[in-house]
Symmetry: C2
Subunit: 145 residues, 2 copies
DNA sequence: GAGTTGTTTTGAGTCATTCAAAACAACTGC
DNA sequence: GCAGTTGTTTTGAATGACTCAAAACAACTC
């Protein structure tokens, strides 16, 4: 059964990063995986469908732990709640709608490499580069010109 | 006197964007101009030095109005309060310290143009591209290896 | 199967920011 | 110059995402 296999894989991934396997962690991983960009509240709603006793605080704890472990990626666009996605490790970028806050993935900017290198680092030890495109999503364009 | 000239220029800039000239606006403009990246609280502190009756709420109002008018630029890195800078119109980018939240300007990334063009816009009407580099500033590196 | 260590829950608290209404001041036209 | 209008500032309260802390609990180790 596909569900069983997914769960075993999820358990293995948790163990691989040194995290204990718990029901809330499996539920959160499952809730986020393949469902785009969810904020803590949306994750909580999804998680409660199969694990009704889960507190929002736990969802915050778990999301934080999973993001720190690299199993999830956290994005935090200005003006919205933080969102989490399951697509990690490929340093893709994001499009954020200024109207409704919707987020879409951008596989890669044209030219890729240049975007990771600032021309002068001002003494900073640069670890990551984050690219965010702001615009209006198709729905918001349709809704108000 | 330089101060006089600066004030007249500030008044002209406010009028040019259709905003009424008020003491709080002149004070905020003066507080931010040439002083890097300040959050609302830091601006408030600076403004109060010369206009002690100014409320924090007014600072928020003014910063919002000036940013919307393009006289200031707002940056809002994840995990810090929003910051405002007087350098506008050149689409420069930022380095943000993951330790202390310090912000530094990056004149331009190497290769410039590619960074403004996502490879697929997913139906979005893209208006701006924002590039943020995350790392540790010189002080934080010195403080903790 | 008991102990240890890390996780989840519960409950309260923080902080940047926003909302709303009343007091007030800048610009317009006379 | 002065009254009216419109936009701004103040005051006070509220919101919402998120964090802190301590107690209850459950995974993994031996």
């Amino acid at each position: 059964m596909a569900t069983e296999i997914r769960r075993e894989q999820a358990e293995a991934r948790l163990r691989a990063v040194g995290l204990k396997v718990t029901a809330p962690r499996l539920a959160v991983l499952d809730a986020v995986t393949g469902h785009g960009h969810l904020d803590a509240d949306a994750v909580h709603t999804r998680v409660m469908a199969e694990l009704p006793a889960t507190s929002l605080q736990s969802v915050y704890n778990v999301l934080g732990a999973l993001a720190e472990a690299g199993l999830l990626r956290k994005i935090d666009p200005a003006g919205s709640a933080a969102r989490y996605e399951s697509r990690t490790g490929d340093n893709h970028h994001h499009l954020v709608c200024t109207g409704c806050g919707a987020v879409a993935d951008v596989d890669c900017v044209v030219g890729e490499a240049p975007c990771l290198t600032p021309s002068n680092t001002g003494g900073f030890a640069v670890a990551t580069a984050e690219v965010t495109f702001w615009g209006r999503c198709a729905e918001c364009q349709a809704a108000s010109g």
